[in-house]
Amino acid sequence: MRSTHLPGQRNPLSARTGDLSRRTLLGTLGIGAVGATVGAWPRLTGADIPGRSSTALNVAILGTSADAAARQALVEEFTSLHPDIPVRIQAIQGADWRDFFSKILTMVAAGNPPDVVYVATEGAQLFAEKLAEPLDPYLTRDAADIQEYFQDVHPSLIEAFMYRGSLYQLPLDWNAANMYLNTSALERAGLDRPADDWNHDDFTATMRAMKSTTDGSFTPYYWTNRLFGGVVPWLYANDTSFLTEEKAAGGDWFWDRFYGQDPTRAQRSGGYLWEAPNAEDPRVIETFDYLRELVAEGLGVRPEGGGGNALVGLFASSRIGATPAGGYWVQGLHEAGMGADDFDVQFFPRWRTQRHQFGAAGYAIMRTARDKDAAWEWVKFCASKPAMELAIPSPNTTPTRRSMVNQSLYAATGPEHWKVFYDTLDRFPTSGPIPAPPQQAAVETALMKNVSVAVSGSSAQVRSAMGSLQRDLELALRSK
């Protein structure tokens, strides 16, 4: 057997001096580690995080430290009005809302949940079911103060946050799945911006024209595989969904009080209920088959999971003709170098209906909040117009207040037809939120995994994928 070469045994008998320096080395390393531990103790225990152990109202948002810093003006304004309520914004990073919610749940599990959480439609019912406090008593108490907010906000956005007759959040920003169009691609195809009531056949024709006038590095339609803006807008336009949609009773106290005069008052309810799978509905299959054909014909990409990070860059460099997105996209395109005339928006195409899908978000008060009254003051303050103007200075999302979706917001960025954003709600008042029952994570997983299978094969594969989606959804909806 051969000796293997180990550096330490080169000179076993004359290694004294080497050992001495090695001993010094070990000692230095040990002392260094102890020094680092002592010196960085606040860092190691998180004690240096500002406000960590304070009793300040802890507000969790999805975003980076930069997003938290951007809300500093908001916090200062709130503090000047309520000097007795210190506020700490805690930015939680996540690739998407599902990530963010699982972080919040982890915080609950770790025993230090935030007091207030910014929750999007994706998590509205999860929070309402398990974590959030209804706003009902506060709304009744402060009805006079809050009346003005509801007058400025479309009832469809509010209804998305009703759950079994109670309201849990005041939505501050929202986005519908409208259709973004690349102006240069339209021009190359010799087309004008489509009409407001274009239908899915017009859409196909537009995509074909775009495709035939470009080379291989261009894709007419880009869409992502997720709950918002993926397959659901098409399902809604075709007057169906992959879950049954019912509405809960209740909520009349609220609607009568705040939206008594609204023309759509009669259709408002105690909130959406998505309690059973509906994946094998003929219209669902028809919709998936349409998308499958788009992909097969090379008019649309196979949708990728996750966010589709490349999207802004691809659209801005004119490699994409059209994609569904909301007002949140304007600022990103602007920053990626698109001029106001380089892109435009239009309603989502019509099919059996022109019902749109939207998502919205607002603050929810946690049931575990130490001081719920203070939390409500934050919620109420953030819904005020001055606060919303501080919170949304640029079109990186759409404000829920109609009065704020105006020319000045889009002056620097375009698009020309920015009115489409809020008109979506007025023109199509049945537009509905992202279908997200309390079991949202499992539902989204089930949807995503079967969408990609359904649209990348044959017509028969659509049917089998919908069968599989139906089964997965049954499993997902079984537990609460």
Partner: protein
């Protein structure tokens, strides 16, 4: 090689050697190509990110994406966190593995083999199996959402103990005998004689720990919540942005920045690691 056979062998080997080098070159290109593309794309503006044909060499570098990384995430804090976590885990593993490895290699005590088998068996326990109870333990210790929650559970190391045991077994016995004759205690024998000799072995444990934990994703994903406690890999994934608003060149700039510290350790540690691992594995 004998001089008689040498000319013939070299002649027949030559085409074979060329083929070998070609294979190695292709493999090296496939290994380094993606990294070069990442580097050059991070040095372009977002709208040029997807230009085809691709660039593998950064001509006309544009550093706006790097500036943007520092604006979007607290890069300095991410590096500090990753460095603290990996340094303390590495030193902790070196110390505990050296002690335990020494005991398993050179001390005699009851139940040694059984205990060593148990230690080895823990190598097969996936971290995902224990993460929920560990999470609850951490909560019980009041360490939820701290860097210590990442450090403490990672210090006991089965693989490191195994490596150090092998290393001590490979060291000559003479010193122990000599030290024993001098009346040295087992602790002094370890501290003055064997620990210094085992520095290269400990370096391997340290470098492996550094590499693994610098890049670790799963545990930080679960055990840290505040972005102030994020480590680099976590910060990078979230650079991708919410709902597709992240810019590819910014993400790639973050990727490149996160490589630098690991690259430094790699350059300085490569030799030790190679020698140590090759020795350890061929035993």
């Amino acid at each position: 090689m004998s001089t008689l056979t040498a000319p013939r062998t070299t002649r027949t080997l030559r085409p074979g050697m060329a083929a070998r080098i070609l294979v190695l070159l292709v493999a090296a290109a496939l290994t380094l190509g993606p990294v070069l593309w990442t580097l050059s794309t991070s040095l372009r503006t977002p709208s040029e990110s997807f230009n085809l044909p691709p660039q593998f060499l950064p001509l006309n570098p544009d550093f706006t994406s790097y500036v943007e990384v520092f604006q979007q995430v607290n890069m300095v804090l991410l590096v500090v966190n990753s460095a603290l976590v990996t340094l303390l885990i590495a030193v902790g593993q070196m110390a505990t593995a050296a002690l335990a490895g020494y005991a398993f290699a050179r001390l005699s005590f009851k139940g040694k083999n059984a205990l060593f088998s148990v230690v080895l068996a823990t190598m097969m326990v996936p971290v995902q199996v224990t993460i929920v109870p560990v999470f609850m333990l951490i909560r019980g210790m009041g360490l939820s959402d701290t860097l210590l929650a990442l450090i403490l559970p990672a210090i006991p190391t089965a693989f490191g103990t195994f490596l150090m045991r092998q290393y001590f077994l490979g060291l000559p016995n003479d010193f122990a005998e000599a030290a024993a004759l001098d009346g040295a205690s087992p602790w002094r024998t370890f501290r003055s004689v064997y620990a210094p000799l085992a520095v290269p072995g400990m370096a391997i444990v340290g470098i492996l720990a550094f590499n693994f934990h610098w890049n670790e994703f799963f545990r930080p994903l679960i055990l840290t919540i505040s972005q102030e406690n994020y480590t680099l890999p976590l910060g990078l994934v979230t650079l991708q942005g919410n709902l597709g608003t992240g810019s590819i060149s910014v993400v790639l700039a973050g990727v490149i920045l996160s490589m630098i510290p690991a690259l430094v350790v790699f350059i300085f540690g490569q030799r030790t690691l190679r020698e140590g691992l090759t020795a350890g594995a061929s035993k």
